[in-house]
């Protein structure tokens, strides 16, 4: 099993948005997609996904629709709204800025004198 990093709070939302941005998914599918794109960093508890999904939908960033899954079962599919797409873009940009800043800080060399 690959190393499982602890998910920082708040990043779960970002990952969900990213997962759904690639196409409509049901809850389990989002889980699989996240596992896939993070190369194996699983969620500690899978059920934690659902409150996050509910929150994003409550805020109007996702919409949901009942449909039929690959295994012929009734499942709830989530999709990004326009607002969700916008929020995703903003969050990604701000995360990248943060990453760059911290990376720069960590790679700073000690002063010579």
């Amino acid at each position: 099993m690959s190393e499982q990093a602890q998910l920082l709070p708040g990043t779960l939302d970002l990952l969900i948005l990213k997962a759904v941005s690639l196409g409509p998914l049901h809850g389990y599918g989002v889980l699989l997609r996240i596992e896939q794109i993070t190369h194996g960093a699983l969620l500690a508890e899978q059920g934690a996904l659902y409150p996050a999904l509910a929150r994003l939908e409550h805020q109007g960033l996702l919409t949901s629709e009942w449909g039929v899954s690959d295994n012929n079962r009734r499942a709830k599919f989530y999709q990004l709204t326009t607002a969700g797409r916008r929020r995703f873009r903003e969050e990604t940009a701000s995360w990248n800025r943060l990453a760059v800043a911290i990376g720069a800080a960590l790679s700073a060399k000690p002063q010579e004198d």
Partner: protein, 879 residues
Amino acid sequence: MFARLRSMWQATWNRSRFERDLDDEMRFHLETRTEDLIRSGLSRAEARRRAGIEFGCAEAYQDRVRETRQVNWLEDFAQDLRYGLRTLQKTPGLMLVAVLTLALGVGASSWLFSMLRQWVVEAVAFPNPQRLEVLWKLDTKKGWTEYVSVPDFLDWRAQNHVFDSLSAWKSDEFNLTGGDTPERIQGARVSADFFRTLGVQPAEGRDFLSAEDQPGAPRVAIISYGLWRERFKSELNNRIIKLDGESYIIVGVVPEDFHFTLMGRANIWVPLVFTEKQRVDRGTGWLNILGKRKAEVAQAALEPSMSTVARNLEKQYPGTNTNSGIRINTLAKEIGKHVGDQAIYTGFIIGICIALIACSNLAGIYLARTLSRRKEMSVRLALGAKKSRLARQLLSENALLIPAAIALGLLFANFGGNWITNAIPYENRGYLPNYGRITVDTATVLYAIAIAALSVMIFSISPVLEGCRLNLTGALKESGSAASAGRSQRLRKLLVVFQIVLALIVLIPAGLTAKSLAALLRADPGFRPDHVLTAQMNLPSAKYANNFQRLVFYNQLIARLQALPQVESVGASQHMPFGHSSSDLDFWIDGRPEPAVGEVPSTQVSVATPGYAAAIGLSLLRGRFISEQDGPDTLPVVVISQTLAQKYFAQENALGHKLRLGRDDATWYTIVGIVKDVKFYNLGDEPMNQSYIPFVQAPSPLMSIVLHTTTDPMNLSAALQETVWALDKEQPISGVQTLESRISKEEAPIRIFTQFSAYFALLALFLAGIGIYGVMAYLVESRTREIGIRIACGAERANILWLVLSGSLKLAAVGVSIGLMGAWAIARLLMSQLYGLNTSNLDVYAISMAVLCAAILFATLIPVRRATKVDPLLVLRCE
């Protein structure tokens, strides 16, 4: 935001589906995961177990979803209410006080609102009321308005471009006969298009035809709904009645809710027919004018447009129309002036102040409760409750009070208000809109809800915020009596100051109106109001066509009345004080230069019999009153009033000079006496010119009989009427009442206003007193520990007393100074409308402040005494 609301709404609306979906979604996840694990080689049982562990506690996650969607808001609210109810039950006394004070405030405020609204709004209940205008002739030099003459009216109607229609009207009284008892009724003569101008359709029958106000038209009348129902038993069929002896056909009935405030209690309307003489008499103004502005014309354009018309008339008729303009007021404004709109605004302000006082009481109570629950709140916060949830809960508890207070308040308003108005004598209740009966209609209920909700919300927000901003560790410690957050102390002091300010604002107008009423009642009327019985009669011209007949009737009447036992003296005058009739004539003095046109002075004129002065107690200052020696053929004489004498004969003896009265009368009347002024319309009148000429020289059909009696005047009312009917059984008599009751009816509005102001002032004092007591008690209590320490360290009890007292005095000082400013502003509003307030009113201010300070001191007294009785050992021990 809307997305969240929508989401919350959808979840709540179809709760079962929401729950089902939630279940299905998580089950799908688990089953699909199980299948995947089976595919990767685990047994079914093992796969299921693993999937379950990986998923975690489904119930917990379901709860979190529910929380996110806020699907429980309704249940939470119900829970809050139940909890609030339980808390209320723990401190019932406090909550009872809270609900009662709020109810009192809401009730008083709603009652005032309902009354004033009826006055203001329903006074103008016609279609397009904003286009209804009242026109006056304006004396541009002196700035006052006058009645309009017939030729001016006709010209205005013909020459204007801004009115759909202009109608004239004049109030009048009629003798109604034909049927049962003769009756004297109020009414008006109106242009044929009067009701059309107002936009009123008759409920029965028809309106006047345009031709019906021309000379020679058949005599028709329109009556009021009340008259139709009571006197004519709801039947018409071209009923013929006699008004002043002339036959009229009733053709229509106005709707039941028709009410034209400026016409008072008019019950019958007849067409206003102008005689030839009136059509050319441009100098005599006696008409009221009502107009309907054209829809496309703006209000502001009216006066400029009409002043062009006025200027044309001025050029054409310099003799009568110099310095004559046109003043136009909207009907609403005119009624407002009639009713006294500044009193109304003051009333509104008082109502709101009362409500606010009640609410700040509430705020004080809330603050107390919130702080005493600090410990409970801190524990809950420590256990993980969200601040928003706590705040919601506090607000919900308070919300319980609102419906209780509203319901109680409206009950107070209805029954309390009616109880108060029942204390007012019946005939005076007509001055209150709807006879003082409050109708709890939609608007009033909405107002009550708004005021109650607003006050509860405003005044509980801060304590709620306060409750949430707790320092956990500090609150959890057992330091209950440690200085409560300095912030809350400041808040409470602010509340006290606020209440003092409001109380002063309510007190001072009450004091001012009381002072005005006292001044009014002290004012010298110029006659003797007690032991005088009055009655008015108008001899119909059909029966009493010439002077001789009138002379005979009244002389006989007076002689017979004089013979009655218990009658000291009898007299009659054409117009009497508080008799609702008068006539003014221009006058000229002999030997003086002719005054400029438009500046001729005028005087009230009344014909009187010799006995009048004695009967009414008119003081003679010089010369003589009208006497037996004046006959139809002797020297024409006149008796003038003090004001006239002083104004025009200041340096000389007026007796012997001659006056000409009225344009139509060439007679020179010799002044033979000077009498004291009488107040005519109102005890607060400015002195005016008055004159009396002998009845025998100009017998008027309209006369007021005045009897000076030895006993209670009303004892003689039956005898008076019998004497009249013995002479003429069809002669209606009106206004048989004592002079005192006439005066009291006239002064009723100010008296009622004063009464109500006093009630409200008392209410305000009471509410403020409760509030101040509560806050002071708390402030003192919170210093109990400090006081205990001081005493233990040797402080004198007297010093403690002063310490606490000075605190409250400081607050009082601040409150009073701010309150004075607010009250002064309101006082200025009132002063223009009330009598006798021209002098500085320092006494009112001083008394009000003294009363308020006394109340404050009294409210502070009890807690202060308790403070000094503190046993230091007890205090220091129980922490």
